[in-house]
Structures are given as C-alpha cells and as structure tokens.
C-alpha cells in the first residue's frame, strides 16, 4: 500500500492503484462530470431547446415536449443529488483506503478536490463539499489533540514503540520498515508509526515523488502485487496544503478513523435534510394572499412554495419570470401549477412593471459568497434591484451545505461566470460587426438581499462570513488548483 505525498491526480491514482473498483468509480464520475451529465437543467451547458426555432422557444407542454423533458430530467440531476453522489464516492474512497493520519487524509481530499475542480470548475458545489470535509478532518484532529493524547492509549493498538515526543514531533526513523502484504488485509494501524521516507512509495509512474526515493529503493523496484511498505508520512516531504500542517497531523490516532467517518455521515445527512429544514420555515415567511415573484427554475424554491401551499395551506400567487436563456421559469410554472399553486408567467422585461404589486421576491442561488453576495441566474440582479427600488424584500432561498463559497467577488459580474449560446435571440452571429453575449450568471451584491433562508435558519448577508469560518478552514485552498 503506497502512501500519498502530493495532492496531484497522478499520485492519487497511484494511491488507489490497488483498489481498481474505486478508480473505476472515480473515473466514471469524473467522466460524467466532464460530459455535463450532472448539469442542472437550469444551468445546463447547452441551450435547453437546441432543436427549436430560435426566437420562438415553444412551451414544453406538447406531448413530445414533455417526453423530452422527462428524458432530460431522467439523465440530469439536481446539484444536491450531484453533491450527494460525490460525497458517497469520497466516503467510499476514504473508507476503503488505508491512510494512517489526518495529514494523509487531507492530501487525499485535496487531490480529490483538484480532480473535481478540473472536471467541473464552473460549479463550486463539489469544491465546497471537499472543503467542508477537510475542515471536518481538521476539527476532529484538533479535538483529539486537545486532551493530550496519552501514549499508552495509542500503544495499545500498535506493536511498535511510540516515536513521538509530547510536542508531537516525530522522532525520526527508529524502527525498520514494516513490510505487510496487501493480501493479508492486516490493519494498517499495526504499521502506523514508521516514518521512513524511503519506504513511502513504490511504483510511481507520474508522481514527482521520484526524488524522494532512496538509492536502495531505486535499485530494487518492486513489481506490482509484491508486499509494499506502509507507514506514516514524513511531514517534510508532503506537498499541497499539508505542508503547512503541524506535525501532530501526521501521527496515528486510533479513534480518528471512526470519528471522521461519523463526521462524513453527518455531512451527508445535512445534504439530505437541508431542504426539509428550509421548508419548515415556509410558514414563517409566506402569508396568505401574497404575491411572490421568483426567477427562473429552482428546485429548492419549488419545494419551499409547495410546502407553504400544501402543508401550511397558504393561498398565494406566484409570478415567475421566465429566465432567459434557459427559460426555467416555464418549467417551474408547469410544476407549480400542476400542484394547484396559482402561477403567472411573465417575460423578464415585465419584472419592473409588475414589481409594485409584488410582496416578496424569492431568488435561487448558484453560490453564496463570502461577503454575503450571491451568484444567481443571469437576470436576477435586475430582480433584486427592482425589488429594492420598490422596497420589496428580496429573500434568497438556498441550502448552505454546498453553496457557501469562501471566495469574494473581486471579478464583479464575472465571478463564476459561464456563457451559453444566445440562440434564443434568433440572430445569427455570422453577420459582421455584431457580438452576441449570453452570460449564465449574475452577481447580486449583499446590500440588495434582505435575508437568506437556509438550512440553518434565517441568516443575514452580513452574517455569512461567520458561517464560513464555522464550516471551512482558512488554511484550506479557496480554489483547488
């Protein structure tokens, strides 16, 4: 079993070499990310109706249209489902591989984060989840550290003498490499405390760990399948964020794995339960005979409104702006009105004209930024501006579990921006002297947002920074590159 020193794709692959099923699952997942199979319908890469005449996007109500929509939705999943899938993949990798310390686990997570980022950079949900898990690992490690680990408790599980001093600094290579066979399935903890960099890794094809190899190792490269050395990492040789880790992150702690896996489960539960917690607040925010304006398509808002309508028995009217270029508003309107909610669809340009009649603006979020601003579907910035001009509260309904991002909107409207075909305008770009632009996202500054309705309750934009420091660690990378 090799150790992982560097959070690169190659070293992660080497690390997983012995677990072909994990590699397969990871590659399948990355491939489907790259193919855009997890694209949320409302943020999908391609214009939603490529086959239709530009300029006259027809409503998806005809029989064939609905069929098309169904097959589409059968393939495409929401972002929360995508995040859940990614989480489960991460859990199976972390649960199966034989990492020995939190430092090593952090390197694995960082490598996964980089892989996800390179496959699916436009959506921050995967990076956010990884960052969250990394913070979890750190927290567990800190929790274990605070009551000074007693050498006795640890040595129970190991056959080797403990090689750390109270300060947590490894004392170096005191014991010979402990060779264990992969086939014996001996728990790796038995060989936990070896810190011989020479024995860290074997068959490195792409990794830059070559330079760490000792001469002796280079002379006798081990073929695959031969028992490989296993041991804790040498903190001085690691790369990535693990470089900055204090030495005690590279120690073996018996209860660590158990605690981390429990924490992972909690994060997964959070993902699954997030919407339920949001929905519970529906009655607090929607009163009867209200006129609510919402923009484009959002599964969270749809469920939120349905909850208010069905459970809380509130009578309200929803005005949905269609939300070019994807026209998610049309889909949303169909979904809501089929459940008995009164719905009116409007063109995006009519938002400002109708705003004086609106009581509440609900907006979806693609990402929530560190300053309390929001990345939302393009056109929603206008919604928020118009609401503010009419003193109508703008409320962003979103789960924080995977949408909270640690970055600031230094790029303005360009943050997390993505572009799609402006085919819906029905103008050919072949003509000279004409540029066509169709951005997918808008950045909404925090001063336009009255409230966030999240899975942790109502939150002010000015409070988001505090939540950030709770779920993420400042030392973890803001962008996995």
């Amino acid at each position: 079993m090799p150790s992982i020193y560097s959070p690169t794709s190659a070293s992660l692959r080497d690390y997983l070499a012995s677990h072909s099923h994990l590699l397969l699952a990871l590659d399948t997942f990355l491939l489907s990310l790259r193919l855009g199979e997890f694209n949320n319908p409302s943020y999908s890469d391609t214009p939603s109706r490529p086959n239709e005449i530009p300029g006259s996007p027809s409503f998806r109500s005809t029989e064939s249209g609905e069929l098309k929509e169904e097959t589409k939705e059968g393939r495409k999943v929401s972002r929360s489902a995508l995040t859940l899938k990614a989480m489960e993949l991460v859990r199976s990798i972390v649960g199966t591989t034989k990492w020995t310390s939190s430092g090593e686990l952090l390197i694995i997570l960082e490598a996964l984060g980089r892989l996800f980022h390179s496959s699916y950079a436009k959506d921050p949900c995967l990076s956010n989840t990884i960052r969250r898990l990394m913070n979890l690992v750190r927290t567990v490690e800190e929790d274990l550290k605070t009551p000074q680990p007693t050498p006795g408790a640890l040595s129970v599980n190991t056959n080797l003498p403990l090689t750390t001093d109270p300060g947590g600094v490894p004392s170096g290579a005191l014991s010979p490499p402990n060779i264990i066979s992969r086939s014996t399935s001996t728990p790796s903890m038995t060989s936990a405390l070896i810190s011989q960099p020479q024995n860290a890794s074997t068959d490195l094809l792409y990794s830059n760990l070559e330079r760490f190899r000792s001469d002796s190792m280079a002379e006798s490269p081990e073929p695959a399948g031969v028992p490989v050395p296993d041991g804790p990492l040498n903190p001085s040789n690691v790369e990535g964020i693990a470089k900055k880790l204090p030495p005690y992150f590279f120690e073996y702690k018996a209860e660590f794995r158990q605690m981390v896996m429990e924490g992972f489960q909690e994060v997964i539960d959070d993902l699954e339960e997030g919407r339920r917690e949001i929905n519970e607040q529906a009655g607090l925010h929607i009163h009867s005979n209200e006129i609510i304006l919402t923009y484009s398509l959002s599964r969270t808002i749809e469920i939120f409104l349905l909850h208010a309508h069905q459970r809380e028995k509130r009578q309200f009217h929803v005005i949905i702006a269609e939300g070019a270029p994807h026209f998610g508003g049309h889909v949303m309107a169909n979904k809501l009105s089929s459940k008995g909610v009164r719905v009116t669809v409007i063109n995006d340009s009519a938002i400002t004209a109708l705003m004086p009649r609106v009581n509440l603006v609900l907006l979806p979020a693609h990402a929530i930024l560190a300053n309390g601003g929001v990345v939302a579907p393009s056109g929603s910035h206008l919604c928020a501006l118009s609401a503010l001009a009419n003193k109508v509260p703008t409320v962003v309904v979103s789960s924080l579990t995977f949408k909270l991002c640690p970055m600031y909107p230094h790029e303005g409207q360009d943050i997390m921006q993505d572009f799609v075909s402006p085919a819906f305008l029905g103008v050919g770009s072949e003509s000279d002297n004409v540029d066509l632009i169709c951005p997918v996202h808008d950045y909404i500054p925090p001063e336009l947002i009255k409230l966030f309705i999240t899975n942790v309750g109502g939150v002010l934009p000015s409070y988001v920074y505090r939540l950030l420091s709770e779920v993420y660690c400042v030392e973890d990378p803001i962008i996995f590159k």
């Binding site: 005979n289 009164r342 400002t352 118009s386 305008l425 002297n433 632009i437 808008d442």
Partner: protein, 479 residues
C-alpha cells in the same frame, strides 16, 4: 367592407338592441312581474351592474381622454367580459357580437383551467361571454390571478377579425375603409412605436378628410368633428391609442373646429390637409431631427452606448453622431417576446456601427462597460414619469446601480398632462404569445409599457436636454 359582413353586423345589432330593451325592461321592473325570473340571468344582472359602474367611472374621468363619449349605461352587453372593463370604448366593438343569447348559453370553454386563471383567448366573442358567465364569478372575490392583477385594464385585443371591427350601429356610414385597414394593422401590431402609429393615424385622417363631403344641412366643422371622432373611436378599439395619437387627434380636432362657416369646402379641406402635413413634418419628424442633433452632442469618441427597443429618434441620433465622425459602439438590449431591438440591430448594421446584441438577462453583465444609456419614450407625463417600452425601467435601474447616465429621447408632442406613478394603474395588456397558448395550466401576463419614475438624467427634446421635472413647465409654455 363586404355586404355579408354588414348583414352579420346588422343581425348582431338587432340582437343587441333586443337584449338592451330586455335589460331596460328588467331594470324598470325589478320584481320581474311580466318576465319569467330565470330570463334575467345572472350574467345579465351582472352586466347591468357593470354597465352602471362603467358609466360612473366614465363620468369620473371624463377629462381623461379627448375621445371619450359615454355609452348607454343600460346596455346589457357592454361589459359581459368579466366585468373587468371600465372603458366603454374598448368593449364597444365586441358588445355587438357578445350579446347574442346563444353565445351566453354555450358551455364553458375547454380551455379554462381548474384555477380559473385567465385565458387570453377569451376575447373571441362566444368564449368571452361564456367565460364571464361561468368561470370568473365562481371564484371567491379574494382570488388572485392575472385577471385580478389587471382586472382594471381592458383585455388585449384579439388580432384581426374584421367582424370585431364592425362599427357601432349609428356610425357605420362614417367609418372610412382606410380606418378599417389601419385598425387591422394596429391590432396585428404590424405598426408599432408611438411615432409610426401617430403618423399612420394622421395619414388615415388625411384620406378621410380627402373623401369627406359635408351634408348640405350640416355645418362642416361640426360634422367633420363627429366623423373624425367616430373614426378615432374605432381606431382606439383596435388597440388603445398612444398618447402621441391622442395629442395629434386633439390638435386635429382643434383645427377642425376653427373652420369658418363661410369657407369653401375645398379650401377648408386643403387647409386641413396642409395642417396635418405640417404637423407630421414639423412636430414629429423635424422634432426628431433636432433631438438627434441635440443628443449627438452627448456622444463622445470611444463611447459605449446602450440602447433598448427601437426608437426613431435614437436611430436618427446614432446616424447623426456617425455623420459627425464620432467613434462609438452600441449595445442593443432586447426583451422578449417582441424583440424590437432586432430592428435597431439591423439599422445599426446598415450604418456600419459595431453592435453587441444581448438579451434582457445580460443587462447586468454588459452594463459595466457602458458609458451612456439612450432610449426613446412613448410619452412623458407631467409628474416627470417616462412612459416607454416595457423593460426600459429595468434598464434604467441597472444603469443607476452602475452609475451610468440615462438619456431619454422624446418629442414634445408626446408630453401629456396626465400623471402616473407606476406601470400597473394604466397600461396595455399584450395578447398571449403563441408559445403559451398550448400551456396546460399556467397563466401568462404581459404589458406593453413601463413607467420610469426616477433614474433618468435628462430628456432630449427639440427644446434641448431638460430634466424630467421640467415636463410640467414645458407643457405650460407650449399652451
């Protein structure tokens, strides 16, 4: 108009009169002694109430429109549609057909969804009457839908049914064929934009005046005023008139009333035609030329100008600025469903100006690089509100958020003494686009105009660039 259509109109008229008599009778005999009670149907009672309410409303805002002339409040058919229509003009053409007793007996249309959300097709006469007698009234009064959001506005006109254009009975002789053509063009939205609509209407009036022969026993100024008023009324039935049209009609009416009794008919007609030509030339076209000149002074080299919709004066302004050798590029923002900006795009391409064409959703994204926002107005109200194409308010808001100056081009003949502070109280509903007609359950609503209350740096008029607050002053000066 064909004889067949006339016959049909005649038939419908008779029916209407019959229904009217019945309602009057019912009104005089509230207990319904001589009439079986069930004959005074729910719809009829409601229609009566509505008609009374309409009459009241009409009295209240008589000053609102120069062309208003009160309908017979007792007419049972005048407001069969949903009771949403306080404007007797708008319903005048439809009353003829909708009052037919058979249509009232029709089953509710299949199109109606369970919510009773409006379906925009209801202005097909038979459907309308059945819709009104069944669906909307079965809802509790607190029910909200698009209909109730805009129940104070007349429903959008149904595009072209020559039948609906059949003139009200007593005036049929005065309606000129070119009026019918014009009405069709208006209701199909083939003539849009306040300038074009106004010019088309004046051209139509020129034909009417050209063909006009005063009856021997009547004074020309009086009779011609009546004829023009009747034609104008029919025109407004095809589509609610713009303020530019209203103002132009007021001008024409004033001119007609000044015709001297002893003047030769041909001389008066020539004078009138000349006056109309001068109005078109000076007040409309020359004004926009001056606006183009005034506005182009604000275009600097390297400017990025954002425009919305397709305004004649803005077009002229771009051409003028290009003539002056200014180097600038234009961002055309467009709003669905009309996508009027395409016309602007085509025009600018012909001029050879570099254009960026974006949808309404891209507004916030492109605003950063803009140095000036320019669009045309449909009207300017005396409280400083700018009435313009729906969506322009959003453009102004985003421009305000990015601290970009907004200039609005507007000829002074579009200034009005009216006041309005939002786009809901008075607006024009648009017909449901085709893509929504097949929609199973959702409702759609669209309006034509936006009212921009603030955020406009200046209005470019033929008198120079002035702030919006100066509208009232200019109006007073113009008098």
């Amino acid at each position: 108009m064909s004889t067949e259509e006339e016959k049909e109109a005649e038939k419908a008229r008779k029916k209407a009169e019959k229904a009217k008599r019945a309602a009057e009778f019912a009104a005089k005999n509230p207990n319904g002694f001589t009439k079986p009670k069930e004959k005074l149907s729910k719809a009829e009672r409601r229609a009566k109430q509505e008609a009374q309410r309409a009459a009241k409303a009409n009295e209240a805002d008589k000053s609102k429109s120069s062309s208003k002339n009160p309908k017979n409040p007792k007419n049972p058919s005048s407001n069969v549609d949903i009771g949403s229509n306080n404007d007797p003009q708008a319903s005048a053409s439809r009353q003829v057909l909708s009052s037919s007793p058979q249509t009232l007996a029709l089953p509710p249309p299949i199109l109606n969804n369970s919510n009773g959300n409006s379906n925009r097709k209801q202005n097909t006469p038979p459907r309308k009457s059945s819709t009104s007698s069944n669906v909307p009234f079965s809802q509790p009064p607190s029910t909200l839908n698009a209909q109730s959001l805009f129940s104070h506005l007349s429903p959008p006109m149904k595009p072209p049914l020559t039948k609906t254009l059949s003139p009200p009975p007593q005036t049929s002789k005065s309606i000129h064929p070119s009026t019918v053509t014009l009405c069709n063009a208006y209701s199909r939205f083939s003539i849009t934009g306040s300038n074009s609509r106004c010019i088309a209407m004046l051209e139509c009036f020129k034909k009417i005046i050209g063909d006009y022969e005063p009856p021997k026993d009547k004074v020309m100024s009086m009779d011609l005023t009546r004829v023009l008023k009747e034609n104008f009324k029919v025109i407004t039935e095809s589509r609610v008139h713009s303020i530019s049209m209203g103002n132009a009609f007021t001008f024409l009416k004033n001119f007609v009333t000044k015709i001297k009794h002893n003047e030769e008919t041909s001389v008066s007609k020539d004078n009138l035609l000349l006056a109309i030509d001068q109005f078109i030339e000076k007040t409309v076209q020359f004004a926009s030329d001056v606006i183009a000149k005034e506005g182009s002074t604000k275009v600097k080299n390297g400017d990025v100008i954002l425009t919305y919709g397709c305004s004649t004066s803005v077009k002229k302004l771009f051409a003028k600025a290009l003539d002056q050798g200014k180097d600038f590029r234009v961002i055309v923002v467009d709003g669905r469903p009309e996508l009027e900006g395409k016309k602007m795009l085509g025009y600018l391409q012909e001029l050879g100006i570099h254009v960026t064409y974006v949808g309404y959703n891209s507004l916030s994204y492109v605003m950063k690089e803009v140095s000036l926002v320019l669009y045309g107005a449909a009207a300017l109200l005396s409280n400083g509100s700018v009435v313009c194409r729906v969506g322009a308010n959003g453009v102004t808001l985003v421009a305000g958020a990015y601290r970009k100056p907004v200039l609005v081009c507007c000829e002074t003949y579009k200034f009005s003494k009216k006041v309005q502070i939002d786009a809901i109280t008075h607006n024009e509903l648009t017909p449901k686009p085709d893509e929504f007609k097949s929609s199973p359950c959702s409702d759609w609503v669209g309006v034509k105009y936006d009212v921009v209350g603030e955020g406009v740096a200046g209005i470019v008029t033929e008198f120079g660039i002035v702030p919006t607050t100066s509208v009232a002053v200019i109006l007073r000066e113009m008098e």
